[in-house]
């Protein structure tokens, strides 16, 4: 049913650390790798070895140049995927009941056997988190690796989303935001974790941790050399030359 649950027991989601992310795209690759073979139809590619390859991805990494009011510009890598919103507009617009939010853990999923591929949920999402699979004609989105996190066939350390498991810099953290003592809640509180486009009223679960403030470079290291006062013969020469 496309009614949103009044509350969810857990709020599983990600804390994504923009300070630590180096934009290596390992999370993109791991996501595509895992979700190609488990939950639902594979993430198809079109013309993968041809001149105009494209394909379905559940996670994409952007990069931005950010110019502060003072100081040097910096480059920020920015992974973008489903935020598993509390007030998910993609769920309520679905005409078939294929999109739903789970009351037990807050994960937003698509039942691909019911999805008619109308695309309205992707239109409703401000974040571009949903992509229609061009081969199967059904909507694909991040499942928070629901087939990993509860999977007792996997060793315990693998029971987290593929993107989190693979991240070489530890920029992605998985946990329960409903529990104020969880690692992700603590991290978000300590680092000022924020919502994307809060005015859209979606109340995202995932939090982004802002890049830490950079220290400033002192004045140019060679600057003192420009201010040498000459004395003696060199000083006399300097004064004489300035007259011409």
């Amino acid at each position: 049913m496309t009614c949103l649950p009044a509350r969810t027991d857990k709020k599983l989601g990600l804390a994504i650390d923009l300070d630590t992310c180096v934009g290596c795209n390992a999370c993109v690759t791991a996501c595509k790798g895992w979700n190609d073979q488990g939950y639902g139809v594979p993430l198809s590619d079109q013309d993968p070895y041809g001149a105009h390859p494209s394909g379905t991805f559940l996670n994409r990494v952007h990069s931005y140049q950010v110019v502060p009011e003072q100081g040097a510009a910096q480059v920020v890598s920015f992974p973008r995927s489903c935020l598993h919103c509390d007030n998910a507009p993609c769920v309520t617009v679905c005409p078939t009941g294929a999109s739903y939010k789970r009351s037990e853990d807050g994960i937003v999923l698509v039942d691909e056997d019911i999805c008619i591929g109308c695309g309205l949920c992707a239109w409703a999402c401000p974040y571009g988190a949903r992509e229609m699979d061009q081969a199967a004609g059904v909507m694909k989105k991040c499942t928070l690796c629901v087939d990993r996190i509860y999977n007792e066939a996997l060793p315990e350390e693998d029971r987290e989303p593929a993107c989190v498991r693979t991240c070489p810099t530890g920029a992605r953290h998985f946990g329960d935001f409903a529990d104020p003592d969880s690692k992700v809640s603590q991290l978000a509180a300590r680092r000022g974790g924020y919502d994307l486009m809060p005015d859209m009223g979606t109340r995202p679960t995932n939090k982004y941790l802002p890049p830490r403030p950079k220290d400033r470079m002192d004045a140019a290291p060679l600057a003192p050399l420009l201010d040498i006062k000459t004395t003696g013969f060199a000083g006399w020469l300097d004064r004489m030359l300035e007259k011409f």
């Binding site: 507009p89 679905c94 239109w123 004609g137 919502d195």
Partner: protein, 291 residues
Amino acid sequence: MYPASSVIVFTVLSGLGFGFLAFLGAGLVTPSGWTAFFLWGLGYALAVGGLLASTFHLGNPQRAWRAMSQWRTSWLSREGVMAIATLLVLAPVALSDWLGLGWSRLPGMVGAVMALVTVLTTSMIYAQLKAVPRWNHWVTPAMFLCFALAGGAILALPRWPALGVVVVMGLALVLSWLIGDRRFAEVGQTMGKATGLDRIGTPSVFDPAHTAGNYLLHEMIHIVGRKHVARLRILALIFAVLLPVLALALLPGAVLPRAVAATAYLIGAFAARWLFFAQAEHVVGLYYGKR
């Protein structure tokens, strides 16, 4: 947004069809015999043809019947339910008009209101989307309803009242452009808010997330063709408003002015609806530095 022809055909034809059915149901035109068969048939054909066209853009159209189920939250589902309910409620009146059965016109009155509600639900599919600021405004349902009423009036009403409704529609269309053009700035979403990086400075795209196209870029960041906006708007006004007004005011006879006005209206409505989609900007474009 990508102006998919199936969705343009759907909204224009079913809007016109339900507008016409509303006038027929309300008894503002009461044909009998084979005229009734033809006119009611035209209304049903437009409405149903539009609905069928809407299934062409589906990834899995064979499951389209499932779209009736989520009327409690989904405007798209409500649209499907209302459309079919309206067509069923009006059926006895159509039958009675055709065969001269003299049945009560009460279902016609109810069906007329339901037909307009159906158009409203169609418009709400778009107006509900906060992520598309241009659509997310009351002027969207107002414009859709005016288009349905004007199309229906051209086919059903005497020439002078019809002319009046067409003029009102023209005003609603211009208003939707004036309001729509301001909406993105009004809503105030920026790349800084979309990424949250406005906290540390002013962001701009450094390296795109992907150089190939994808569903998002194709479907929601459709920027091709916007450069002809001014010309298309003028064409839409000429065909949807000016020509129908002239035809209704000047052409002789009963059928000719309606036929000319309706044909021009359809061309104008297609142009206006193409613009409705092509000009709408989705906030996801902010992540790509495109709108």
